[in-house]
Symmetry: C2
């Protein structure tokens, strides 16, 4: 027990950080030399590079390529202790948290960086039919569903059912939805070429459903247009001004204007609607802090909660209005910049500097989304880039951002490989393996002509 | 629908292969140019490079590094159709299989390469406490248990419980058991160094329990001795002539001679005792073929079943006696050589060559096992090699064997990396995340001195 490295003992102020995402991890690192002892709490033992999660969901990368153990990242920062724990509740008056094992953890300063979770607008049962993409498990679950749909189609004789199995609906055309739809289009048109004998994967239909009047609604219109072109090239059908009215195991009910349409689809993916993690509600209840419609906490100009200067909320779970009053987007850059602002403010206070701080200001470094192979759109401070150049910039930025990860090199090689071969290394169906019997009764027909149906099957 | 590439249609004899492991995959490939149509059945969509599975279980490699989609491997072999299906039963008289969806699949020639599964000698409930290492899910499950034990220990204040959490028992000192124990020893002594604040990972105890009088009992005694030395260097305690009498969630009852000992251990791994996959029993029932004590099918000198010349059994599920009457070991080489023998025999028959064939003969190319970093033992046709040279040979042989895999290069780099840094990239705890509350009541003490126990926790 190497006591000299423990962040506890001594009377240094105790900073507790909830969440090991971009916000929490960067806050811990920004306090590297601060006279504090830090406890970083996360329910997972790794930091996840969320922007590339869709690559895991589509078999392009392995989970370990985009995740690194928090302990490994922070092992040399001796004022941090990482604890694998879920925070169940908070007592803001007595300044302690209740963890999932029932124990209490006191704090002097609290940084809440809990992020968002999938939201189904009051239709939580939809989650079974249309998984979202927030965790590693979501990604491998989506990977299993997409790949298994092709496998089931290969065994299916009823053309109607084959069409249903090969129809993929992605709900929401934000960056994640666009990237998911593009990747599935690429899998169908290139990756699986010649892999099957009964079906032609290029016959797969990929529908991208968006309620707004263009894809990537938060991007400049010209880039939305470019993205739409790239999606069309990959065989993705975009449905704009369209909303999901209903979901079942193999249907999606779409509503556009006043006409409804029922699409038969085995696989539906949810990339719209997020809500602050549940702890945000507990925090609001304990502090009386207001929440917005997505349960995000309305923070003050210094990112703290009203009447609780020791509680910071940063990243996706914080509602901080930009110049024109809209909340800042839920992207890594916002979380990272807020983490550094909070760390600076904490250090200033520890120096005894009690003057009222300059409010947090977000510097938009730009946003980008990739569509399949060698195509991306980027909006870099007003400069609009698309196509191969956009993709190269996207690749560079993300590889550099992965710099903390020992396996950045692996990711580069894996990408180079899939770029040249359009192969996807991580096409594994894991988890519960075979639904027996297969999804629907029709599926019980054997694809083998010489096969004779079992009387009682 | 590219009918010209379908293995069906036409009247070519239909060869059905059950299992996409070393035996099944090599049989399909050896029949590349044969005038047959082949259907390869597997419940998984990928071929697994089993010899490296322990690397996934210990966070050294990602699942995708050692698995490749069967369709991708066989996509250019147009006389093969891959079907994702589990075989439930066989009608050997009418020559058809019943699949998991109830459909029937007829065959002219059947190659059974179903492999082995974990066996608990009539104590199947032990599986909950001591998982085996046969599938990708087994590997990620073991990885989760091992890593989570360290995480729980970091949060634990009761020294007794910490000791229990940091005690790892590996049952069975065959190659897999030796490799697992060595890798865990390495994780505790090197990989996790400085990762924790409350515990010292090097205090972890790794027990390797073996019923025989030496580790690697199937190896020459001098190599067993070398392996034991390497294990000792990694802090692994070997218990010979010792058997497991009982298992619970946190205890292992060991019996050596006539004294019993109860070891308190949170994590026990099972790498002894295998049994032929369940289909072997169905096949025996349908054909009257005899099975040995491990449920393997006793095959004839030409690897077929008595009275069923069209049914071949190859690989781990086949019992084929070597010169001194012992069954051939369950290693990849045996499966591969038997696959090629069966393919040759099938092609000869198709040529109308009905003379009684030369019996199958196994050429032992040697066997090797690796113990942690840069140490291995190899028995190459009587030549005994150990230490770094053995490890380099082991590395070379396995990398070459991975040649079919697009990500061989990734594996090499990942190994090079972990060799030089002793880091392990894939240290992710996935699956059901946090048992809440933690394993035992003691675990509810908070590691934080300033924490006050919850009255009703």
């Amino acid at each position: 027990m190497n006591t000299q490295t423990t962040p506890r003992g001594g009377t240094l102020p105790h900073v507790v950080i909830i969440g090991g995402g971009f916000g929490g991890l960067n806050a811990a690192q920004a306090l590297r030399r601060a006279p504090v002892r830090i406890t970083l709490l996360d329910a997972r033992n790794f930091h996840l590079f969320q922007p590339l999660l869709y690559q895991v969901a589509t078999g392009g990368l392995s989970p370990a390529n985009i995740a690194a153990p928090l302990r490994a990242i922070l092992k040399n920062q001796t004022n941090v202790q990482v604890l694998l724990a879920r925070v169940e509740n908070i007592n803001a008056a007595e300044k302690y948290l209740t963890l999932n094992d029932g124990s209490h953890l006191s704090y002097d300063i609290l940084i809440v960086a809990v992020g968002m979770r999938q939201h189904y607008f009051g239709n939580d049962h939809w989650e079974r039919y249309a998984p979202g993409l927030k965790t590693i498990e979501d990604a491998t679950n989506i990977r299993r569903r997409v790949l298994f749909a092709f496998e089931a189609a290969e065994r299916e004789s009823d053309p109607e059912r084959v069409r249903e199995l090969l129809t993929f609906v992605v709900v929401g055309a934000g960056p994640t939805g666009v990237e998911l739809a593009g990747a599935i289009g690429e899998i169908a048109n290139y990756t699986l070429r010649n892999n099957f004998r009964n079906i032609d994967p290029t016959q797969a239909r990929v529908l991208l459903v968006e309620g707004a009047d263009r894809v990537l609604p938060t991007y400049p219109p010209d880039l939305s247009a470019r993205a739409a072109e790239s999606l069309a090239k990959l065989g993705v059908t975009v449905r704009l001004n369209t909303f999901v009215r209903g979901l079942s195991a193999d249907t999606v009910t779409l509503k556009s204007g006043d006409q409804e349409e029922i699409v038969r689809a085995q696989t539906t993916l949810w990339s719209t609607g997020v809500r602050a993690a549940t702890f945000a509600d507990a925090l609001a209840a304990a502090t009386g802090a207001p929440q917005d419609s997505a349960a995000r906490l309305m923070v003050q100009p210094d990112l703290t909660l009203p009447a609780f200067p020791e509680i910071f909320v940063i990243g996706d779970a914080a509602h901080y209005p930009d110049k024109d009053g809209k909340p800042l987007p839920g992207v890594a850059q916002v979380a990272i910049q807020q983490a550094k602002y909070a760390a600076r403010l904490i250090k200033a206070r520890l120096r005894g500097d009690t003057g009222s701080p300059k409010p947090f200001r977000y510097t938009d470094l730009g946003s980008m989304a990739t569509i399949g192979r060698a195509a991306a759109v980027a909006n870099l401070r007003g400069l609009h880039i698309h196509g191969l150049l956009g993709w190269l910039i996207w690749l560079f930025v993300h590889l550099m951002a992965l710099v903390k990860f020992q396996n950045r090199l692996l990711v580069l090689i894996q990408w180079a490989w899939s770029y040249f071969t359009r192969n996807r290394a991580a096409r594994l169906i894991t988890g519960d393996i075979l639904p027996a019997p297969l999804p629907t009764p029709q599926a019980q027909h054997s694809p083998q002509p010489e096969a004779h149906k079992q009387p009682t099957a």
